[in-house]
């Protein structure tokens, strides 16, 4: 830690607490000052609000913040990954899905109430996660990947439920986005009673957790039951997250930022990290919530606190990024190995034929106006083709671009979680679209596309700048990317919570719909996929060598820095183009390269080519299912791809 800035965890906590206290005084003082603290009056508005709304809300903020900070610190230690946070496990997403599904299908919630339903959803997600990773002995990489996939899957299902019931679920966006509003002490007390024993258990687990700083073998050699400790720690983090989610919904970023700040402020021992992550988490959420109340007072705006934590959290994270000291080595893609199913040119021919067959199927098979299945031929087909072919072609081209970009990013960063979505390019396009929708009066489709492209370009510029600056780029790029994703997510959350009908247009675009694809856009998408693959072919030697590191690459005559910049540019451009066509939810970019590797395509070019075919086929299939499943209603292809692709990926990961 730089001695010039003597930041310690207690000082940081005190600084945040001072800001929170100042805001609290602003909120609490007027009712006291007005002389309304008169216990003899039978009814007094200011007193009632202070006692039954303001104070329980403050208590909930403190307890929820502490629980999330603690959960984040546990997870970052257990998974040896500074990006880990409660959300990474998919637990909050499971709770949100349970609430959304219950709101629609069992309006009475079976008499259980929101809390219980959310808790069930969180627990189910956690059980699924642990079940899926048990065979890998809860290895950090397996858990992070399974958690991420689970989050995407639950998030997509939730979005499908919301889209199918758009008028019903406006309330879901307040709960789901972590509104801390209270009118009763019951939730605060219930939350406190759940979190307190979990915190005590976490303290008891501190010593063996600290020994996990060593690698697994060394920890075992010292007599630490590594698997049992990891399982217990994860169970604690899950329980803490579930308690918060069931009480106040999804509160973004506190679980990530609080432990990161604690680490940056110099906390070294595990005990310090746990205690101060919880403390800083509590004060952070308190300060944020009070800030929200002060800033929105009298504006008529309603902003859920959980969405705002990301707005506060992202800049803090980005500012402190250069000081984030290198943590334990990030998990490597080599841990996956490759499958042996497909080798040689025969398998490539089979794959190509399968893709052509799938495209023909998607063009010919559909449903008649009365809902019957039909095979369109002759003049029927001539009538229907103008509607169908641009969507099939656009889906294929976009899927191929995303998959090519994903396989480039995974190779360049050495991180198997990398994908166009995670690097923030899709989020950049989404932020651009939001700006157009809400800042311009009635923007046309062309303006919207231009704004999304501009947003993608800005995100791309930021990623490139980071990518070219230092050797520790893999983590930083992912952190910036996740920050942008959270920022876009938070802004869309604020928009959805205000109930603004434009929010549903945003949601639909973010789901990844090929609905608006024109013939020209479809041709551009196909060309883009071809260009991305040509670039991979031209750079295949670089791609095989770069993962070996700067020294090896230089000795083999590869210009390390320049090659990385060129390849990042290709990946980002392909991602941006695909995002404009099928939205930012690019699950194809994450999953297709993994499937390609699992099928046995190991070297750069065959893997990228196979991934492109798989990504394109995935989106064509998803688009067709989206057009057919709820006819005459339609589901966006990106969402369906996630619903179909996530379980496939989980099965593949769990196969060995």
């Amino acid at each position: 830690m730089n001695p010039a800035v003597s930041l310690s965890p207690p000082r940081l906590a005190a600084l945040l607490a001072f800001a929170a206290l100042a805001a609290t005084v602003v909120v609490v003082w007027p009712p006291l000052w007005d002389g309304r603290w008169d216990m003899s009056a039978s009814y007094d508005v200011g007193r009632m609000v202070l006692l039954h709304a303001t104070l329980p809300r403050l208590a909930v903020a403190l307890v929820a913040g502490a629980a999330l900070g603690l959960a984040g610190a546990l997870l970052q230690q257990l998974l040896r990954n500074p990006l880990a946070e409660p959300g990474t496990l998919g637990v909050s997403a499971g709770g949100a899905l349970a609430i959304a599904a219950a709101t629609v299908s069992v309006p009475t919630l079976g008499g259980l109430g929101r809390d219980a339903v959310a808790l069930l959803g969180c627990a189910a997600a956690a059980a699924l996660l642990l079940g899926l990773t048990a065979r890998r002995r809860f290895a950090p990489l397996a858990i992070v990947l399974a958690g991420l996939v689970l989050t995407l899957w639950a998030g997509s299902l939730t979005a499908v439920v919301v889209l199918a019931n758009e008028r019903w679920l406006s309330g879901f966006f307040l709960w789901g986005r972590g509104s801390l509003v209270q009118h009763d002490w019951t939730p605060a007390l219930a939350l406190g009673l759940r979190v307190l024993p979990l915190a005590v258990l976490a303290a008891a687990l501190a010593r063996p957790l600290g020994l996990l700083d060593l690698d697994d073998a060394a920890a075992r050699a010292r007599g630490v039951p590594v698997t049992a400790v990891r399982l217990a720690g994860i169970a604690l983090a899950v329980a803490l997250t579930a308690a918060v989610t069931s009480a106040v919904g999804v509160i973004a970023f506190v679980g990530l930022v609080a432990p990161a700040l604690t680490r940056l402020a110099g906390a070294r021992s595990i005990r310090d990290r746990l205690v101060w992550s919880a403390t800083i988490g509590a004060v952070l959420l308190w300060a944020t919530d009070m800030g929200v109340q002060v800033l929105t007072a009298g504006t008529g705006l309603f902003v859920p606190t959980g969405a705002v934590t990301a707005l506060f959290g992202v800049p803090v994270l980005l500012l402190l990024l250069p000081r984030l000291r290198a943590t334990a080595p990030p998990p490597s893609a080599a841990a996956f190995g490759t499958g042996t199913l497909a080798r040689g040119p025969a398998s490539a021919a089979i794959a190509g034929a399968a893709v052509v067959g799938l495209a023909a199927f998607a063009l010919l098979v559909g449903r008649a106006p009365n809902g019957d299945w039909t095979l369109a031929l002759g003049s029927d087909l001539a009538d229907l083709l103008p509607w169908r072919w641009p969507r099939v072609a656009a889906a294929f081209g976009a899927g191929a671009m995303l998959a090519a970009a994903g396989s480039l990013l995974q190779r360049l960063t050495g991180n198997p979680m990398a994908s166009p979505e995670v690097t923030g390019i899709g989020a950049g396009a989404g932020l651009g679209l939001m700006a157009a929708l809400f800042l311009l009066p009635e923007p046309g489709p062309a303006t919207e596309a231009a704004a999304a492209a501009a947003g993608a370009a800005v995100a791309l510029g930021g990623v490139l700048r980071l990518g070219g600056r230092s050797d520790h780029t893999a983590e930083r790029i992912l952190l910036v990317g996740i920050g942008l994703v959270a920022l876009a997510d938070a802004l869309s959350g604020v928009i959805m919570a205000t109930g603004d009908p434009r929010g549903f247009r945003l949601l639909r675009w973010m789901g990844g719909s090929t609905y608006g694809a024109t013939g020209a856009a479809a041709l551009v998408a196909l060309a883009g996929g071809a260009i991305a693959l040509s670039a991979v072919a031209a750079a295949r030697r670089w791609l095989d060598i770069l993962p070996l590191g700067r020294a090896t690459a230089s000795s083999l005559g590869v210009p390390y820095g320049a090659a990385r910049i060129v390849l990042f540019t290709v990946a980002a451009a392909a991602s941006a183009a695909a995002t404009l066509i099928v939205g930012p939810l690019s699950f194809a970019g994450l999953i297709a390269p993994h499937i390609a590797r699992e099928l046995g395509f190991a070297r750069a070019l065959p893997q990228a080519a196979a991934a492109a075919l798989i990504g394109g086929a995935l989106l064509v299939a998803a688009d067709w299912i989206g057009r057919m499943a709820t006819f005459p209603y339609q589901l966006p292809a990106g969402l369906v791809a996630t619903l179909v692709g996530a379980p496939v990926l989980l099965l593949l990961l769990n196969r060995r």
């Binding site: 006692l51 929101r114 008028r167 009538d383 205000t498 109930g499 005459p632 209603y633 339609q634």
Partner: protein, 291 residues
């Protein structure tokens, strides 16, 4: 769903017959698809129901009145109507709003697209009336549209008279979204237009969004005038009532303590003239039942 023609359709037909211009031109009624509930509801009122409506399967949940005639095809979501289905319906005209404007360029390959902006600032009831007249001209039944509006005006006048006799307290219209938050309706929303038209006063004069509502926490209701009457619109989330009943803050609110809280059946907040009239009738009937 009812098979008989609606009261308003009969009225409109009668008016047309009395005017001596019985079923104008005798040509077939134009085939119209509406991607918006409000425009569809007024077409039904005028007596030329659309052949297709976006979101028709949820009509009975959100619009209720007037009932959608049987045989109207559900063309899918308003934001993404099924274009293959839309083309197969061979419509003469497709109606959109700024909200679904992105569909316009695609839909115009099938039939001429006409955009109506009911919720674009200003008084939505006035804009709906203008749209109804324009729709009447478009379908060749200007007299039926006039009769539809005249019937609505008579009904509004009658309701205004009943309100004047009641001298009701200020009204707050809310839609609970969960046990802790509610939308509250004001200017420039449809319900505000209705209150202005029949002489009710709105207890909430706060800042609303362009669509005429704001989002409130339950505690914010405490800052409104204590003598108000709270009307909460269906559908109410099922856990809202039991949770609120436990809250010391809610139960101490003067209008809750005095039991001036009622639950009204659903009426479309982004509706047209028929929805406005439905809300007016439900509100007045509720106030009379409590008088």
């Amino acid at each position: 769903m009812s098979v008989r023609p609606t009261r308003r359709a009969v009225l409109a037909g009668l008016a047309a017959a009395l005017a001596g211009r019985a079923p104008a031109k005798a040509g077939p009624a134009p085939r119209i698809v509406s991607l918006d509930y409000a425009l569809a509801e007024m077409l039904v009122g005028i007596g030329i129901p659309p052949v297709g409506v976006a979101g028709a399967e949820d009509w009975d949940v959100w619009v209720v009145e007037p009932p959608l005639p049987p045989g109207v095809v559900d063309v899918g979501a308003g934001l993404e109507p099924n274009l293959e289905l839309l083309a197969a319906l061979k419509p003469d005209m497709i109606l959109t709003t700024p909200y679904v404007a992105a569909v316009g360029p695609l839909a115009s390959r099938i039939a001429p697209v006409r955009e109506f902006a009911l919720y674009a600032g200003g008084d939505p009831l006035a804009r709906a009336r203008a749209a109804a007249l324009e729709l009447g001209h478009m379908v060749g039944r200007p007299d039926a549209a006039g009769a539809y509006l005249a019937a609505a005006d008579r009904a509004f006048d009658a309701l205004a008279g009943r309100v004047a006799r009641l001298r009701p307290p200020p009204i707050a219209v809310v839609a609970f979204q969960d046990a802790r938050h509610a939308r509250i309706f004001g200017r420039p929303g449809l319900y505000q237009s209705v209150m202005d038209r029949i002489g009710l006063s709105n207890a909430w004069t706060g800042e609303a969004n362009d669509w005429g509502f704001g989002v409130m926490a339950v505690e914010d209701l405490a800052s409104l005038t204590p003598d108000l009457h709270l009307m909460s619109l269906e559908p109410v989330p099922p856990d809202a009532a039991p949770t609120l009943a436990r809250s010391p803050l809610w139960t101490a609110l003067p209008f809750v303590a005095a039991r001036r809280v009622s639950v009204l059946p659903a009426s479309l907040m982004f509706g047209g003239v028929s929805s406005a009239l439905r809300f007016a009738r439900l509100a007045v009937e509720d106030l009379e039942a409590r008088a």
